[in-house]
């Protein structure tokens, strides 16, 4: 069942001081399936926040449809089942943490001792202390945690988070990730936007990539692994160019720089054969890299589509060094 379904969303904004409108979403469609963590990835200005605001009814789409739990977005009963963490959450500076969460709880119909207990619980979960200090004294990362606390306060079935990792220190990130994965394991659905790839990669079941107001690709973790099985990069040195003649069926490509060759082996299974040929012709192997395309790579490829054929290396790549 999809918890969130977005269909052909279009949205334009008016330019300041003119009547012309510029379309920033050109038909965004995707869906979040119950119980998954769906990442929403895209560069600055791609339209992530705009899409999220439309889903939540803070903006109106020009056309298109948003369904939450199979119902039209904007129904009050639907909103009770959603938790939202805005981008750079601003909270009321004149309130203390407890007062703020009580206020949020009241608006979702929670009260009394149940609310008090739940507030203590979420404060503990996000790693804050229940202090009496006004929220205006909180740091950016602490406010981010306050924002998460208010989003999960009423135990919503669907969490929508706009850049949840921004402003968090490494420990805070791990905590955020653990909380989100924990909620997913309880069966909640999580939809979050980000441009921090490792965060997305390590916890998302699926990722939708948006670019200039269009979803260019949705990939699942399974897809990544499947692609990853197919290729291996090798760098070899000191063998005559003719020795690769017999390997045409095994190699996807070969390039040379000086006496070094850059080989792209089609399959993991072929590596043994290629290695043997290289040794037999007196060459040596400098490097073998298992080409596991990271999400970053998929992402960058989508972003730089004109370079789609070229490989972009990243530190996230799984490197296998064989020293000689």
């Amino acid at each position: 069942m999809d918890v969130l379904r977005v269909e052909d969303l279009r949205k334009s904004f008016r330019h300041d001081m003119s009547l012309r409108r510029r379309e920033v979403l050109h038909g965004v469609s995707f869906e979040a399936i119950a119980g998954e963590i769906l990442g929403f990835l895209g560069p600055n200005g791609a339209g992530k926040t705009t899409t999220i605001k439309i889903i939540l009814g803070l903006l109106r789409a020009d056309s298109g449809d948003v369904r939450l739990f199979g119902r039209p977005a904007g129904e009050r009963a639907v909103r009770a089942r959603i938790g939202f963490l805005p981008e750079n959450p601003y909270v009321f500076p004149h309130l203390s943490l407890i007062e703020f969460l009580e206020f949020c709880g009241h608006m979702t119909g929670m009260r009394g001792t149940v609310l008090r207990a739940r507030i203590e619980e979420v404060i503990w979960m996000v790693g804050l202390e229940s202090s009496r200090a006004r929220l205006k004294t909180y740091s950016k990362g602490q406010l981010q945690r306050v924002g998460l606390a208010q989003a999960i306060l009423h135990d919503p079935e669907l969490l929508i988070l706009d850049e949840p990792f921004s402003g968090l220190d490494p420990l805070g990130r791990i905590k955020m990730r653990d909380i989100l994965v924990g909620l997913r394991n309880q069966g909640k659905t999580i939809f979050f936007s980000s441009h921090i790839l490792p965060d997305v990669e390590t916890m998302c079941d699926r990722t939708c990539i948006i670019r200039e107001g269009l979803i260019v690709r949705c990939v699942g973790i399974d897809d990544l692994i499947r692609i990853g099985e197919s290729r291996v990069e090798m760098i070899v040195r000191g063998c005559p160019p003719e020795c690769f003649d017999t390997l045409d069926d095994y190699l996807e490509s070969k390039n040379s720089t000086g006496d070094e060759f850059f080989l792209l082996v089609k399959k993991q299974d072929y590596v043994r054969t290629v290695v043997q040929v290289v040794y037999n012709s007196g060459g040596e192997i400098l490097k073998i890299v298992n080409q596991h395309p990271s999400l970053e790579e998929v992402f960058l490829n989508e972003m730089l589509s004109e370079f789609k054929q070229s490989r972009v290396k990243t530190p996230e790549e799984e490197h296998t060094f064989i020293g000689f």
């Binding site: 605001k53 939540l56 009814g57 803070l58 903006l59 109106r60 009050r76 009963a77 909103r79 009770a80 959603i82 939202f84 805005p86 750079n88 959450p89 601003y90 909270v91 009321f92 004149h94 309130l95 007062e99 206020f103 949020c104 009241h106 608006m107 979702t108 119909g109 009260r111 924002g147 208010q150």
Partner: protein, 255 residues
């Protein structure tokens, strides 16, 4: 109901914790106390002056605070995006607006009550007489503020604080004069003038009906039915204007 109450409570708390309200209070206090120093007059006259200044202070500071406080009320939350965390909860925009309005009214009524308390103490300590007309006048000032609060909320749903302030004060001034203007126009004006003042008279709040200060100071007779009518008028005017505020706010996008 609970949601409206919690919005109102939060608004009230915010107003209390900000300095605006205390500054207005201080100002009113100084005004009233200064009458002591400025009036070396006979006992009776002194009481009248205290009453006159006190009631005027309550009325004008009430309206001013409503305008100053109210003009930033909605805008601040929209601007700082705190409203995202409110409107994405199961609360309707109508409830939000009513909650904001109630919070504003409660904050100002509290302030006016404190000022009335000060005035009463001063009158009594000077062995003056508290007549029902004094309380009627305070009640009138209250109604006026309540109406002006709704006007402020109306503007704040679609313009900036500065414009809200200007529009609201404009309405306050014209609303205080609209009756006089209309009478003036009917006596001396041409047809167009009559029409304009007529329209203004019905469109703007007629704030003169809330002004009972003259009666209070001179201990004149006032009619209960007038108070009742004024109350009904205030309630109707507020409802209508809050309804229009909602119609605007309902369609509003939050960037």
């Amino acid at each position: 109901m609970m949601r409206i109450a919690s919005i109102a409570h939060n608004t009230f708390r915010e107003s209390i914790r900000e300095r605006m309200l205390s500054i207005a209070l201080l100002f009113g206090f100084i005004l009233m106390v200064s009458t002591y120093a400025l009036s070396p007059l006979a006992v009776g006259a002194k009481q009248k002056i205290i009453m006159d200044v006190g009631l005027a202070a309550i009325s004008i500071l009430g309206v001013l605070t409503a305008v100053l406080l109210g003009s930033t009320l909605v805008h601040k939350e929209v601007d700082k995006k705190a409203i995202f965390m409110i409107l994405t909860r199961p609360i309707s925009r109508l409830e939000y607006l009513i909650g904001k309005y109630c919070g504003l009214v409660i904050a100002i009524v509290t302030m006016m009550a404190v000022m009335t308390g000060v005035m009463v103490v001063m009158i009594l300590s000077g062995r003056g007489q508290l007549t029902p007309a004094v309380f009627a006048a305070v009640y009138g000032a209250l109604l006026e503020t309540v109406v002006m609060g709704a006007v402020v909320i109306f503007f704040s749903t679609f313009t900036t604080p500065i414009l809200t302030m200007l529009f609201s004060l404009g309405i306050f001034v014209m609303g205080s004069l609209s009756n006089d203007l209309r009478i003036f126009a009917q006596r001396y004006g041409g047809e167009a003038m009559k029409l304009v003042t007529g329209v203004l008279y019905y469109l703007l709040p007629n704030l003169q009906v809330f002004n009972l200060r003259h009666e209070a100071v001179h201990d004149l007779h006032f009619r209960g039915i007038d108070l009742l009518n004024a109350s009904l008028y205030a309630a109707l005017y507020c409802s209508v204007i809050l309804f229009f505020s909602y119609m605007i706010f309902r369609r509003r996008e939050f960037l």
